[in-house]
């Protein structure tokens, strides 16, 4: 019999004998399922915020902020600068000849959630909504410039009271009327209000935009556009590709979430490795006589080691699937809030693969040492001890 066929036969036999040693098997199996479930569900928070942050990010859309500004609140783009940016020949133009460029401002608006707590939605002011074609009107109409009118996302309407069409929202002592609903986009515009930028700025007493957003003629124009903007001494701005800046904006939260996941995951993996080792040692002890007999009748040590490791890996894979499934059932699609962002948790293939790899590593570590030890004990000694 070839070593491979020996290993296969031994693995099948080993798996079949599992019901005769339930204690050892369950201890290590349960800890493996736990590691997979916990790691998957914690990693899915980071994945959730990543998807939420970068959904709809376009390679040909660029964001311009004042030089060195770490976030939009610190950035100041005066109207003259916006005009210069918009008139750059690399900015795409709409059919009517207008450049696809918009100044943006953001204002936090105090709202009441349907759960009865105080919450915040962001009011985004745009001078030209065409830069965000993913924003689609579902009902009503777009706000007119110069009038206190707002567009609300469907998600914002569902989660908060008083944002339905024709309700009035007090901002800075003045009432603004909701005139339309747009379909939520599954990203940062999810829970948002939109209005004309100039109207918001005059209402809240601002004279500058926070950032400028443009659509370029092509995605590969970005480096050249960046160069031209950087070279203009009157602008003093930084240009970012949209995907990069969105990723960066959520990176702090993302790193925090991933840190939590790996920190807790690593401690649990340590505990699970101990459990796997203990139960593997007691399994090979319980089967010492049987394994020694096999070697006496001609099964190779390598085949026995391979079969013990394969058995552990198969069990770990089943555990990973069970744990991943538990995390998926328990968490996928649940929304969570952090740093004023509310986003759905996503259990995706990346999380499942990472936790499966961890669990397989635990199984490998937990089975290799006992397997090697068994194979190195002399046949005679093992048979005599039994």
């Amino acid at each position: 019999m070839s070593p491979i066929r020996q290993s296969v036969a031994l693995t099948i036999w080993g798996l079949r004998s599992l019901p005769s040693r339930p204690g050892a098997f369950l201890t290590s199996f349960v800890s493996i399922v736990l590691v997979a479930a916990v790691l998957t569900s914690l990693l899915s928070m980071g994945e959730g915020i990543h998807r939420f942050g970068t959904n709809h990010a376009r390679a040909d859309r660029a964001v311009i902020m004042s030089r060195g500004a770490p976030d939009p609140i610190e950035s100041i783009i005066p109207p003259e600068a916006l005009a210069t940016i918009a008139n750059d020949p690399q900015v795409r133009r709409a059919a009517d000849g207008h450049p696809l460029a918009s100044g943006t401002v953001t204002v936090g608006v105090d709202v009441m959630t349907r759960e009865g707590t105080r919450g915040t939605v962001y009011l985004y002011g745009l001078t030209n909504p065409q830069v965000y074609p993913e924003i689609q009107l579902m009902q009503g109409r777009w706000p007119r410039p110069g009038v206190h009118e707002l567009l609300a996302s469907a998600a914002a309407q569902n989660l908060n009271v008083g944002l339905d069409i024709s309700s009035r929202v007090p901002i800075r002592g003045a009432d603004w009327t909701i005139v339309g609903t747009f379909r939520e986009t599954g990203d940062l515009f999810d829970q948002a209000l939109l209005a004309d930028a100039a109207t918001i700025m005059s209402a809240v007493g601002r004279v500058s935009f926070e950032q400028a957003v443009v659509i370029l003629k092509a995605a590969d124009e970005l480096p050249r556009f960046t160069e031209v903007m950087a070279a203009n001494p009157t602008l003093k701005v930084d240009v970012y590709g949209e995907a990069a800046i969105r990723e960066e904006r959520i990176s702090g939260t993302r790193h925090f979430l991933d840190f939590v996941a790996y920190f807790i995951g690593a401690i649990m993996a340590g505990a699970a490795t101990c459990a796997a080792l203990s139960s593997a040692y007691s399994a090979v002890e319980a089967r010492a006589q049987e394994l020694a007999t096999l070697r006496a009748i001609g099964f190779g040590s390598a085949s026995i080691i391979a079969s013990l490791i394969t058995e552990a890996l198969i069990i770990a894979l089943i555990g990973a699937v069970a744990g991943g499934l538990a995390a998926w059932i328990g968490f996928s699609g649940r929304t969570m809030s952090t740093n004023a962002l509310t986003f759905p948790v996503v259990v995706g293939p990346r999380e499942l693969i990472i936790s499966a790899l961890w669990v397989l590593a635990i199984a490998l570590l937990g089975s290799a040492l006992p397997a090697v030890r068994t194979a190195r004990t002399s046949v005679a000694a093992a048979l005599a001890a039994a």
């Binding site: 736990l34 770490p70 105090d110 809240v204 101990c274 969570m336 952090t338 740093n339």
Partner: protein, 379 residues
């Protein structure tokens, strides 16, 4: 009496198994200590806030500003003792990634409201007298190696009237944050200098600090202030110091909740798993226990022997695990301020370990002792 040698022989009987159980208990209690310590640190940070302090900012939150002219009306609310304000000026120093947080403050009132920030009377006099003077927090001075008397130029995100973004100031003194030293990573500038020099946002502030006479009135005064400005051009949002601290932790919010729920479930299962291992290790020794019984050991003495072993492993493992958590947690300082494992958590952890040790030792020992000697020896 050969109690100790017997105990040791039990531990050494299968050294690999003993160390694995021990290691697993260490891991479980590291997790326990870290998570419980995190929660306790947050609660402690909220408790250690100033009950007589309110913060009044714009209701709109975020980067929205209030006019500096609210200082007078705020002070006149009944129950308000003092007010002060700050205007934030985010800057970098020398390198674009070396951030410095500057605040424009009123020298006269700032240190009387935020009394935990302490500076010398001489420094305060110089700060008041010199328009471009600055008082640097000890943590910041330490971080960037700044000395009193130096002239520093910061690159700030707010432009000056002349279009430049270079903001210079002279260090006239240092201040020490006596409660939370990590909060002294800032520099205080004269509000008048900041306000006159900046090209935008004239006569505005980010937040007012309001000190009230009676902490019990905090909620009511906050409500009265916000109600008074609700329909003005500048609606205010007033929160107590404790509420702002809570708001800070809400950043971690659901994450903390989710990880705690998931991990508590895992922790309980791991405890059970460790218990099961311990039980198995004792069951394997039935024959030996039967021998001890045959040569005249009393039930009580054998129970003590087994319990000493299992409790010993559990409590020692828990102590090591909690110690590791104590070392790990301060590294999470950025997340929760000062992370540590407080005594009640240590006590709770050791109690759990004791319970775990008793259960995982007593159950199999009892089962063995109830068996006839011959039956147990045959196993």
């Amino acid at each position: 009496m050969k109690f100790i040698p017997l105990l040791l022989s039990g531990l050494y009987r299968n050294l690999t198994r003993t160390s694995l159980i021990f290691a697993q208990v260490v891991f479980v209690f590291t997790l326990f200590g870290t998570l419980q310590g995190l929660t306790a640190s947050m609660a402690m940070a909220i408790k250690h806030t100033h009950a007589d302090r309110l913060f009044t900012g714009s209701r709109l939150g975020g980067g929205d500003l209030l006019p500096v002219s609210l200082a007078e009306p705020l002070r006149r609310f009944p129950g308000v003792a003092r007010t002060t304000f700050e205007s934030q000026l985010p800057c970098t120093f020398q390198r674009p990634d070396q951030y410095v947080w500057a605040l424009g403050v009123d020298p006269q009132t700032y240190f009387s409201v935020y009394f935990e920030n302490q500076t010398s009377a001489a420094a305060l006099r110089k700060f008041t007298a010199l328009r471009t003077g600055g008082i640097v927090g000890e943590r910041l001075a330490q971080r960037l190696g700044w000395k009193v008397g130096e002239h520093i130029t910061l690159q700030c995100f707010v432009p000056k009237r002349d279009g430049s973004r270079d903001w210079g100031f002279d260090i006239v003194g240092l201040f020490r944050q006596v409660e939370r030293p990590e909060f002294s990573d800032i520099v205080l500038l004269n509000y008048s200098y900041l306000n006159e020099s900046r090209a935008v946002n004239h006569d505005t502030v980010n937040v007012y600090g309001v000190q009230i006479s009676n902490p019990a009135d905090a909620a009511q005064i906050a409500h009265i202030i916000d109600a008074a400005f609700a329909n003005s051009a500048h609606p205010t949002g007033t929160a107590s110091d404790a509420e702002s601290a809570q708001e800070n932790f809400r950043r971690i919010g659901d994450v903390g909740f989710l990880s705690r729920t998931v991990t508590t479930a895992a922790l309980i299962s791991l405890l059970i798993a460790s218990g099961a291992l311990m039980m198995r290790s004792i069951r394997e020794r039935r024959a030996e226990l039967a021998t001890l019984k045959a040569i005249g050991f009393t039930h009580r003495r054998m129970l003590v022997l087994v319990l000493a072993e299992s409790i010993g492993i559990w409590v020692a493992g828990a102590a090591v695990g909690l110690g590791v958590a104590e070392i790990l947690l301060p590294r999470a300082q950025d997340l929760v301020g000062k992370g540590f494992v407080p005594l009640p958590v240590v006590a709770l952890g050791l109690t759990y370990a004791l319970v775990g040790g008793v259960i995982s030792g007593a159950v199999p020992a009892w089962q063995t002792l109830r068996m006839p000697i011959a039956a147990a020896a045959r196993r």
